[in-house]
Amino acid sequence: MSVLVDENTRVVVQGITGGEGKFHTGQMIEYGTNVVAGAVPGKGGQEIHGVPVYDTVDEAVRAEDADASVIFVPPAFAGDAIFEALDTDLDLAVAITEGVPTQDMARVKKRLSETDTRLIGPNCPGIITPGESKLGILPGNIFSPGSVGLVSRSGTLTYQVVDNLTNRDIGQTTAIGIGGDPIIGTDFIDALSAFEDDPETEVIVMCGEIGGEDEEEAAAYIAEHVDTPVVGFIAGRTAPPGKRMGHAGAIVSGSGTGTAESKIDALNEAGVPVGDTPEEVADSVEELL
């Protein structure tokens, strides 16, 4: 049915009074997300789209019984905002902010290991359970309910692949954009494990990219622990070594690790077909359903 979020998820929006926060709170509410509070220091007492704003996340969570947070806070303050979310023991925090300093994220990652909160992001489009709830900036209209679970390091690539699926009437259980930064909360393995445990998810699509070794580790995990069929896609086959391609994580080192080839090989070895194009990904999913 859904992974991590559903129609009952009660959401607080950190940074709800900012441009992005305000706009996307409107979009989320329109989609059906149960946005119950906003949190912005110094803006307590206001209302945005009919949602009450509090000065602290703690206050918002206690007053409105929230269990998840979406963070639209500028990069300089985003690390602190994530810490604030973690300190209220929310089930889920989704950090949309792009450009959070890596050292801030290393400290967040350490703190995260001491809590039970799941963090998605930063620098991600968020998470959506089609027809129920979306936390983030994903365009709701391209998604449809169904049986494919999707996890991706890239936002717009998620939209592309979902579009290829939806055009064939293949719906999704949940789609998770985990973000392209070098240090993130939820990774491929966390998402794969959540989809594996979800009885409604019949096929998992995993979209990776060059840089790091997350896809290789995910491949090893799939071979050991995932029975649900997985279809892969890897962006950046043509990227030259040593160049950073947009995402902080998307850099190919000179030594052969982190390349598209090593990721595709690892996935193939784990029995995961990897499409050459998003259309081929949809072909493989269609065959498996």
Partner: protein, 382 residues
Amino acid sequence: MKLHEYQAKQVFADAGIPTPDSALASDVDGVLEAAEEVGYPVAIKAQVQVGGRGKAGGIELVENADEAREAADRILGMDLKGIRVESVLVEGAVDFTDELYVGVTMDRAAGKPVAMVSTRGGVNIEEVAEEDPDAIARVHVDPSFGMHPYQARKAVYDAGVDQSIARDVAGVLSTLYDLWDAKDGADAEINPLMVTADDEVIAADAVMNIDEDALFRQPELAEMGDEAGGGDDLERKADEYGFDYVRLDGSVGIIGNGAGLVMTTLDLVDYYGGSPANFLDVGGGAKAERIANALDMVFSDDNVDSVVFNIFGGITRGDEVAKGINEALEQFDDIPKPVVVRLAGTNWEEGMEILNEELVTVEQTLEDAVQRSVEYADEVSA
């Protein structure tokens, strides 16, 4: 953002890491003056942001003024892997008995900083890491506590550094970690850290990469970056416009939103038999002017024979994109290169209504758009 060697050395020296006497020079007279001041023998080192400067002829050791003039004449203005050498660092030569490696970086897999020491300095450390990973001692650091003194000692002893200099090397590693931490380093490295006959250690090279996302809280380093320059004209232009841009050597110009989707577009150009001329990500929420700037960038590249726009709107709106494309193209009597546009996602229908279809070729799907742009490029080169 990568600092020049002379800048990184200044940062290291200010923190108390021993560095050789040196001075920066940008003409032959300046080199001679600096060499006189530092005292022969000196190393003359090209200040450009490329790896393997030494092998490429960008570093020379000279004994006297005649040799210095000759070397300065040759190195200043030379083309080093595509970048013109504008200045050199004139540095006192160090008489060394050993060369070590000391470095700090973020281990993304562990999500923690890692400090490294090796007695195999003075060579390409990536090669050492591959051939003989055990030759590099590593300690992971909890970023909320910083590096404990015992961790620096552990790395140094694990690496097999000689007792006589262990304390000094541990001191350098601690200082380097603190600097890396305080300055939002991505990587900080000394290779080689030279050991003299008198058991002194001196940083003979200095590498400092700063996390660009943290430059807002490192104003002094951000200024150094402005001086550092580097890259070609197009890359500088991309910096001014604030694009993620990488120049490649193909003929299909590529503009899109979101790194993963742009990379996928590159891959598809290759898949359909073309070759990408660049990676250009306009980022999220681009307005019309930004789109026009992106087209200006790609048109400025002589290698480009055709352009493909691939926009899948989330935060980005199709109508804004269409407006930008129209604005950029309507100023030409003749469009310099054929442009193929594919719009999807947020407000794509509004975008399609606005888009001036006399100026561009419209395709509905990613695959069709890419194939069309490859065909156009082929026609131009045929």
